[in-house]
């Protein structure tokens, strides 16, 4: 359906996006995962025809979007990262405005507004001004505004930034419903890997403007097939101990978390016994030990040596 081919974007001398290839099939849900500043927003701005690529092309059903942006605009709904709504207008007035600019037929506008308000759970608050809404409610109307014209493709740029867990779950459930029930194709960018894990069939991982890995979740996790992730809780920890663990041949990475140490190591039969000995030598004790299934976060850590929130 949509295909980005060798997308590049330079701002003055700074390369923001480099050689990005990406595709989105009909009814698919694809995640674009990466830390802040990875180039996700610039990439989707180019895909949505808001920004012209320095080089490369975006094709919608084989036709260049760069040359004829009007085609994609008819079938596209974009939810920007910022709350792009008229704060002085009510939720209803905002939706009416977006319905009008997207040429929603007059006889359908009212019913679509009511249906969309119902979907985002704000039908009761439709007469209230946006500026009186909580962050989560504003985000929901922000998404609703992009849905009124019933787009075939929905691009969402970090739609859950800065909101409470309840609103976040609501939004994620809503997007899942759109994708699975209405078969809307979804391109979802986030730096929250759990959201991408929950929603997306395929994932592109971006860092420093480049796609560093892509594939379905099992495909990406297979990158770590020869590694184990362990959570180790100690009664006391020290820098010396962390350094010593890191010096073990099999250990690839170590991260201090609130629950203890997260250790990524090469699959090895004697890692646990070696680790117990080392901890003992440093006068510490293991309180809890847990083998973890690898997650996308670990894939990112493996590929970049950093966490998504670094």
């Amino acid at each position: 359906m949509i295909e980005a081919i060798q997308l590049n974007k330079k701002f003055k001398e700074k390369i923001v996006v480099k050689d990005v290839d990406l595709y989105l099939d009909k009814g698919e849900s694809v995640g674009l995962l990466g830390p802040n500043g990875a180039g996700k927003s610039t990439t989707i701005s180019m895909i949505s025809s808001l920004l012209k690529p320095t080089s490369g092309d975006v094709k919608l059903n084989g036709k260049s979007v760069v040359k004829t942006p009007a085609d994609i605009r008819k079938v596209l709904g974009v939810v920007p990262q910022e709350i792009a709504l008229y704060q002085e207008l009510t939720a209803y007035e905002n939706l009416k405005f977006f319905g009008r600019i997207y040429n929603v037929p007059k006889d359908q506008l009212e019913s679509r507004i009511q249906r969309t308000l119902e979907l985002v759970g704000l039908k009761e608050r439709q007469k209230d001004l946006i500026k009186t809404f909580s962050g989560g409610m504003k985000r929901r109307i922000n998404i609703a505004s992009a849905m009124l014209h019933e787009p075939e493709i929905l691009i969402l740029d970090e739609p859950t930034v800065g909101i409470d867990p309840q609103s976040r779950n609501y939004i994620l459930e809503m997007i899942r419903q759109l994708n699975q029930q209405d078969h809307t194709s979804v391109l979802y960018t986030s730096h929250y890997m759990e959201e991408v894990e929950q929603l997306c069939d395929r994932v592109y991982i971006m860092d420093h403007g480049k796609v560093i890995a892509s594939g379905s979740q099992p495909e990406l996790l297979s990158i770590l097939s020869n590694e184990d992730t362990m959570m180790v809780q100690l009664n006391q920890t020290s820098n010396e101990l962390i350094t010593a663990i890191l010096k073990m041949d099999v250990v690839r990475n170590i991260e201090e978390t609130s629950d203890g140490l997260k250790i990524i190591a090469k699959k090895s039969s004697n890692i646990i016994s070696d680790l117990v000995k080392l901890v003992d030598q440093h006068n510490s004790k293991i309180i809890n030990f847990q083998m973890e299934n690898p997650r996308l976060e670990d894939v990112f850590l493996h590929l970049t040596g950093r966490t998504l929130r670094d």
């Binding site: 949505s48 025809s49 808001l50 920004l51 009007a70 605009r73 008819k74 596209l76 974009v78 920007p80 990262q81 910022e82 709350i83 792009a84 709504l85 008229y86 002085e88 207008l89 007035e93 405005f97 977006f98 009008r100 600019i101 997207y102 040429n103 001004l129 505004s145 992009a146």
Partner: protein
């Protein structure tokens, strides 16, 4: 396009106070600076000469002859105190053959008072000069006055249409000057909605819709025009029908001139919008630039007061001076459409050039 216009209007309807405040400011400013509903301005005069009383009496009578300003003798300390405390803009210290203005402000009225006083002093100096050459001063003064009453050649000043020319009314001029000034602010703030909506991401959302960019710009510009024109029309109607100001018989031509001014000013505001990146920058730049334009354009002064060629050139680059030409032509000289064609064309020219550059800059600023 209509939907963007209506959304702007809905925002205004939700919060109409700014427009109402600007209308009130326009009316209030005119009434304050012109001393009420065309009532004469009162200015204190005093003397500190040895023969203060005689000097004061002489100049009081001369200054009040045929002047629309009412000069009254006051105690020197009280007159100074009134100026110091802002109760009056200006007082005049009169001497035997000279005068000094006591003022603490640069209000337009000060220049006007200065001009009136100077004219009287210059005329009196001329008479005194002639008297000095004569043996019989009383006879000479009587002779001059008699000749002035029955001059050998009489000049008649007529309006452009051949009718009797109306007296120049500074109050009406100031009324329009303040109306244009406040309209410039409101127009600018509404054009700035383009930048506000860009920063808030609404502009990008509109670009991604089937709306054309031309349609988007047209909507914002048309809205700024609509609000500016409505504000000025409301003020003019209040002055004409509420406060009974004499603004001539050609309300249609007056509104036409205001419409041309509004278009031109919307374009200038678009140009300023193109010079800045954020709405906050606009709020810093525009209000510091705008009050200077009527000053340079001579909107607050009697015609002919601003003579510096550099200043008049700069003033002519902005629509205010041309709007004032057209408006005062219609109001005070019964000008016809043909008479005001030139200032109207100049406003269109400024508008087209400023709009072209402005839109181009706005587009470049945001890539």
């Amino acid at each position: 396009m209509i939907s963007v216009f209506l959304a702007q209007l809905a925002k205004e309807r939700r919060n109409p106070y700014i427009i109402l405040i600007f209308i009130a400011a326009s009316i209030g400013g005119t009434l304050i600076f012109t001393g009420g509903a065309q009532s004469p301005t009162t200015v204190s005069i005093f003397s500190e000469e040895e023969n203060a009383q005689a000097v004061e009496e002489k100049w009081e009578s001369l200054l009040n002859e045929g002047s629309d300003i009412h000069f009254v003798v006051a105690d020197p300390d009280e007159a100074r105190k009134n100026v110091q405390q802002g109760r009056s803009d200006v007082a005049v210290k009169v001497m035997e053959d000279d005068y000094q203005l006591v003022t603490a402000s640069s209000m337009p009225t000060v220049g006007y008072v200065d001009q009136q006083v100077r004219t009287v002093f210059e005329q009196e100096a001329f008479i005194q000069g002639a008297i000095a050459q004569s043996d019989d001063s009383e006879a000479l003064r009587s002779s001059i006055e008699a000749q002035l009453n029955q001059p050998p050649i009489e000049m008649e000043v007529l309006s452009l249409t051949g009718e009797e020319r109306a007296d120049y009314d500074m109050g009406t001029q100031l009324m329009f000057a303040f109306t244009l000034l406040t309209a410039m602010f409101i127009i600018g703030f509404r054009v700035n909605n383009i930048l506000k909506d860009k920063v808030e991401g609404l502009w990008d959302r509109m670009i991604l819709s089937p709306l054309s960019k031309t349609g988007m710009y047209t909507a914002y510009i048309a809205y700024a025009f609509f609000i500016g024109f409505i504000q000025m029309t409301a003020v003019v109607l209040i002055f004409k029908y509420g406060l009974h100001y004499d603004i001539g018989e050609r309300l249609d031509l007056l509104l036409l001139a205001l419409a041309f001014f509004t278009f031109s000013m919307v374009s200038v505001a678009t140009l300023v919008t193109g010079l800045v990146k954020k709405p906050e920058h606009f709020y810093a730049l525009y209000p510091s630039l705008i009050p200077m334009i009527p000053l340079i354009s001579g909107a607050y002064w009697m015609p002919g007061t601003v003579t510096n060629p550099v200043l008049t050139f700069i003033g002519d680059l902005f629509p205010v001076s041309h709007a004032m030409d057209a408006i005062l032509g219609v109001v005070m000289h019964d000008a016809t459409l043909q008479d005001i064609t030139q200032p109207l064309i100049l406003m269109v020219l400024i508008g087209v050039i400023a709009m072209g550059i402005g839109v181009n800059l706005v587009e470049r600023r945001t890539g």
